[in-house]
């Protein structure tokens, strides 16, 4: 037996050793740079913590300061014309540069009225100079761009290009690069995802849309109600309904033959789509039942019904169509379809569209009319013109970037800053290499971080108690305010109550629509405590607009810091500002929690609901017979959701104790609705959810559209913004119109009040007026009690002791300076020695 065991063990060992084969390859394979780094012997004596006594780095190491990063998803496509997600854009900060860049203000880049590192300046980067407005010249010379006759500025700019800019292989970047790249970006056959960025937003290059969408049908919303459309001579057969938006459907809806649902469906089309998803409809049915003249939802027809206004012309000549052309070897002229100037112009040009044309063309392939492009999807097809160049790429595993020695920024003397601590001048981008690995599990990231192998670690819920007070912990506010959306869809609620299986003697939903009830819920929860309990990285949310939004990006001024915004909160939370020394103190006193008021409101709501017959009190004990069961719309269940629901119930029970709703208000989880959670809320089929919007941090004004536009509104089915009037005094003139109009006017539309036209868009009204309107709208939105602010989004992360931020204060535009301003306490050799001296495990 012993022999047999010995034999088996020997066999196992032999096989195991065989598995370690490949000896010849091992001896010939050159170790990678990272292997050298990780395997380098380190003196672990106490003296090793001092740089002077640390073993000198091996001479072959090119990277002394390596930023060791981790991602959960590695980019597979960093082609500037086709990337789609934030994950995909990860390498772009290292490889590409915009025409203009943001620098912190300091002695080298001073900003009037600001202390160093309080603000930022915008400097030419791939451009050589600031843009020169040539609107008048271009208007005269190039009428094909249709610059408005009365426009004298803001439509065309001449941009001198940085002559030192080169591709990482040393090839020059000139005006041809920009023009040829734009041609490819907008090429209609390539259908590049990023083409839209150059015509659909603020940055709208003249003719770009027409060129990119050649041959496609153009649908335009009718902009009036169906009745008005027909009265003006419009024909029903010309109408198309946007089925994706109105019915919240998509291409997965098919007809009986398996054909996918198109976005626009003729209102006469009787083809039934969606039987496969149990939500069938036809274009005709949508029109007849909902959007036609006199139908239930006709008020939505201006935005949901479309007519074909044409087909984008084909065979266009780029040079005669698109407002991006060469006016010198190192100069381009950009012509815009709509005016763009000042900060917004430079901000929009902080990106770039250039590609290395010869390589790009080699990467293009066509199959059955569909073009695909492998440019910037691998090491071989990748090229840089930024401070770093990609040196290693393994899909779903690893990326490495090292200094691009052909980058002009190392020697132009412009990419420097004066350290606020020591007053010395340093070159930006101290980091010599960026090594990025895929580490999907947070637990693994934490262990690696504690071993000194990663530069940062985003705290998970279980880490907050341990690390939130750490000197190395940084909080970063997000852009989203999460609010509890409260169901107010009376019709849907009535239908739900009338359905079989709903016992109205035990449960009630209608009370949810009683205003006092909604007001009571709004003051039931301490927002900061809620955040601290269920999501400690976040903080309490009080307004509709978050703390990160800047109303004046040039000065970096935040909306929430304005008097208008503060007054809006005080008004909503009924804070008597006269009792406080300052408006700031008044705002600071807001917690969102007022149990006494809440109790009063619950009792009033009880009486009201009783009178309306929503609830009963058969035994006359002053307590509601029914339980108000508030269904929380889940996308999927999780511990976070359980914690949230438990908290909401616990605090609700505390506040309702002794009231008519004592123990009678319960939040319950819905079935997991997946992506349909928002549909359920919008249709009143679920009663609440923590939801939120975010938008451009530099334009809080644009957020108002989310609360007045039925395409976005969660409460569109029971709140019509065109029916709510608001009066404001603007320049001594009292103006009254509905809040949809106010929102539109704030965002650049011209509206008519009385017989006068008004527009309060950017550049059309002074900032104070715009802030007054924004704050008044915010108060109105809060006053619907459809959205109860609960959480200000945010995150917390630990930063490695190897590095530090040059400035701790978070800036919504500059963040904390990123890799550009990252500074190192230790180089690689010193760091290894330091980690070893700490026993291989760091304390934070």
């Amino acid at each position: 037996m012993k022999k047999l065991l010995a034999l088996v063990c020997a066999l196992a060992m032999a096989l195991s050793l065989a598995a370690c084969g490949g000896q010849p390859e091992q001896s010939t394979a050159a170790p990678t740079k990272q292997e050298t780094t990780t395997k380098a012997p380190v003196e672990s004596t106490p003296a090793a913590t001092e740089p002077a006594t640390t073993e000198a780095p091996e001479p072959e190491k090119p990277a002394d300061y390596v930023y060791k990063d981790s991602v959960t998803t590695l980019s597979t496509n960093w082609n500037p014309h086709t990337y789609q997600t934030t994950d995909e854009s990860y390498p772009t900060d290292f490889l590409y540069m915009g025409l203009y860049s943001f620098f912190f203000n300091d002695e080298s880049h001073p900003l009037e009225g600001k202390e160093p590192f309080e603000g930022y300046v915008i400097v030419p980067e791939m451009a050589a100079e600031m843009p020169v407005d040539v609107t008048a010249d271009v208007k005269a010379a190039r009428p094909e761009f249709n610059i408005p006759a009365d426009a004298t500025e803001g439509y065309a700019y001449k941009i001198a290009l940085n002559k030192d800019a080169k591709w990482s292989d040393g090839t020059a970047i000139n005006a041809d690069t920009y023009v040829e790249s734009m041609k490819r970006l907008l090429d209609p056959k390539l259908l590049n995802y990023r083409a839209t960025d150059y015509y659909a937003g603020d940055l709208c290059i003249a003719g770009a849309e027409n060129f990119a969408l050649q041959g496609q049908k153009e649908y335009t919303a009718i902009g009036v109600t169906t009745t008005e459309f027909l009265e003006k001579g419009g024909k029903v057969e010309d109408l198309y309904v946007d089925a994706y938006d109105f019915w919240n459907s998509d291409a997965s809806y098919t007809d009986a033959d398996g054909n996918s649902l198109p976005q626009y469906v003729s209102v006469l089309d009787e083809t039934v789509y969606g039987e496969n998803v149990d939500d069938a409809f036809s274009g005709k049915e949508l029109y007849d039942s909902y959007l036609g003249a006199g139908a239930e939802y006709e008020s939505m027809s201006p935005d949901e019904l479309y007519t074909i206004t044409g087909e984008y012309a084909t065979g266009l000549d780029y040079d005669k169509t698109v407002g991006c052309y060469k006016t010198g070897d190192y100069e381009i002229t950009l012509v815009f379809g709509k005016s763009l100037a000042g900060f917004n112009l430079l901000y929009n040009l902080s990106g770039n569209w250039i590609v290395k044309v010869d390589l790009y063309d080699k990467c293009l392939t066509e199959k059955e009319g569909v073009w695909t492009n492998t440019y910037c999807t691998s090491l071989e097809t990748s090229v840089s013109y930024g401070p770093y160049v990609m040196t290693d790429y393994q899909a779903d595993k690893h990326m490495r970037f090292e200094r691009n020695e052909n980058w002009y920024g190392w020697t132009d003397g412009k990419h420097t800053y004066v350290d606020p601590e020591d007053g010395e001048t340093y070159t930006m981008y101290q980091t010599t290499a960026i090594d990025t690995q895929v580490v999907e599990e947070a637990a693994t990231r934490k262990l690696m971080f504690l071993k000194g192998q990663l530069m940062g670690y985003g705290l998970q819920s279980e880490d907050f108690d341990t690390y939130r007070s750490s000197d190395y912990c940084y909080a970063t506010p997000g852009s989203t305010i999460f609010f509890l959306i409260l169901n107010g869809h009376k019709k849907a609620i009535e239908q739900r109550e009338a359905s079989e299986g709903f016992d109205t003697t035990k449960y009630d939903l209608q009370t949810l629509t009683v205003l006092n009830f909604r007001k009571a819920v709004a003051v039931t929860y301490d927002k900061d405590l809620f955040a601290a309990t269920i999501s400690p990285a976040r903080s309490g949310g009080f307004g509709i607009i978050g703390i990160s939004y800047l109303y004046d990006p040039e000065s970096g001024s935040r909306y929430r810091d304005t008097d208008q915004a503060k007054k809006a909160l005080c008004d909503f939370y009924s804070v008597d500002t006269t009792k406080f020394a300052s408006l700031d103190d008044a705002v600071d006193s807001i917690t969102g929690y007022d149990p006494e008021t809440a109790k009063t409101l619950y009792n009033e709501a009880f009486k009201e609901a009783l009178e309306l017959g929503y609830i009963t009190d058969e035994d006359k004990d002053g307590v509601c017979d029914q339980t108000i069961q508030i269904e929380y719309s889940l996308s999927s269940d999780s511990d976070f959701m359980t914690k949230t629901i438990n908290y909401l119930n616990e605090k609700m029970n505390e506040v309702t104790a002794g009231t008519a709703f004592d123990g009678k208000i319960v939040f319950v989880k819905s079935a997991p609705y997946g992506n349909d959670w928002s549909t359920k809320i919008k249709q009143g089929m679920a009663d609440t959810v923590l939801g939120g919007w975010n938008g451009s941090l530099l334009n809080p004004f644009s957020l108002t559209d989310l609360y007045v536009n039925p395409s976005y509104q969660y409460d569109a089915q029971w709140f019509d913004a065109t029916t709510v009037e608001m009066t404001l005094t603007i320049d001594g003139e009292e103006l009254t119109t509905n809040i949809k109009n106010w929102s539109d006017a704030l965002n650049g539309a011209t509206i008519t009040i009385g017989d006068k036209e008004y527009c309060f868009g950017s550049g059309r009204a002074d900032v104070e007026t715009r802030l007054d309107i924004l704050a008044a709208l915010e108060t109105k939105f809060l006053g619907t009690y459809d959205y109860l602010p609960m959480l200000q989004d945010g995150s917390m992360a630990l930063l490695s002791q190897q590095v530090y931020y040059v400035i701790d204060e978070y800036n919504p535009v500059m963040s904390r300076g990123g890799i550009q301003y990252m500074k190192y306490n230790y180089n690689e050799a010193e760091w290894e020695a330091y980690v070893a001296s700490q026993g291989g495990e760091l304390k934070y």
Partner: protein
């Protein structure tokens, strides 16, 4: 036998076709990834979907798919996860990592598992058997990611013997690569070792009590001779097919282990291709794994006949 194999192969092709058709239609019935309402990119995305033929009837799309595969060997180009890249090339580039990690795991697991099983069977109802059986049950009961975390915590974090993650690069047979694979290999092996130990012990215990073993001993063979020549040989009827099964699973990958140790393999490709609605990638993987599963079933069935000549495949007698 030949007739049997041909019959099985025909059924295999038919089954493969049915599964492929079902998967093709079902995955296309999933709603496409949502864009935010009003997203200006919608028009371009929709135009691209149209150009790719995703709005055509499913059966027409399936016909085009089959035509491309059979006439050009073209499995398509990834449109979501690996934009513009050939899905077959992506899959092939990811196979080595999975295969090597699993191969190491198997050649470590099989001898150890069988050896422990034999030891436990020969020491039946002793402390050795009890210990091995208890450990085996524990390892089988605990999900692999639990001991994967423990291995990572103790061997990589506390002791620092191994890196946390598998090394990057394609130097599959270098020493640093091997060392970096050890935590993943150990995590994969423990469950397999336990499986083989349990199977071997159970089979051998039964065989050792058979009458022919008594006969073998009475004709003068030593215990070792009787065990090796007669008992082990009979056990192999069950063990060898499971070894085949393990080898076939080499290319399957493990979602959890690959994720935890950052093995750039195929483990997550399938799931990602469904979540990302990357139809060409999904179809390639579906056909591949279905074919592998079906072939494995045939190979295992046929192997019984070779291991034990008494078993006649396809025989009506």
């Amino acid at each position: 036998m030949g007739k049997y194999v041909i019959k099985r192969l025909i059924f295999m092709v038919f089954t493969l076709f049915i599964i492929t058709l079902m998967c093709f239609v079902l995955v296309r019935m999933l709603p496409p990834a949502e864009l935010p309402p009003g997203d200006p990119h919608t028009k371009i995305v929709e135009a691209r979907r149209e150009a790719l033929g995703y709005n055509k009837p499913y059966l027409e799309q399936f016909g085009i798919f089959l035509k491309n595969v059979f006439t050009k060997g073209d499995w398509g180009v990834s449109d979501v996860l690996y934009f513009g890249q050939d899905v077959f090339a992506i899959f092939v580039s990811k196979l080595p990592a999975t295969m090597i990690v699993n191969f190491y795991s198997i050649i470590l697991s099989i001898p150890i598992g069988i050896a422990l099983g034999i030891w436990a069977a020969l020491r039946k109802n002793t402390w050795v058997d009890d210990t091995i059986s208890t450990l085996t049950m524990a390892l089988i009961s605990v999900p692999s990611f639990v001991y994967a975390f423990l291995i990572q915590y103790f061997l990589a974090f506390k002791l620092g013997w191994f890196p946390f993650l598998m090394k990057e690069g394609t130097d599959w047979f270098s020493w640093p690569m091997f060392v970096s694979m050890i935590p993943a290999v150990l995590s994969l092996s423990l469950g397999v070792i336990a499986g083989f130990t349990r199977t071997t012990r159970a089979e051998l215990t039964e065989v050792l009590t058979s009458e022919f073993m008594l006969l073998a001993r009475t004709k003068g063979l030593t215990k070792v001779q009787a065990t090796v020549r007669h008992a082990l040989k009979n056990c192999m009827v069950v063990i060898v097919p499971s070894i085949f099964g393990e080898f076939i699973s080499i290319i399957g990958g493990s979602l959890i282990i690959e994720k935890l140790f950052s093995v750039p393999g195929v483990g997550q490709l399938y799931l990602n291709s469904i979540n990302g609605r990357d139809y060409p990638l999904f179809m390639l993987l579906t056909v591949f794994y279905t074919a592998i599963g079906l072939v494995a079933a045939i190979v295992v069935d046929i192997s019984y006949g070779f291991i034990d000549p008494r078993i006649r495949m396809g025989s009506k007698k």
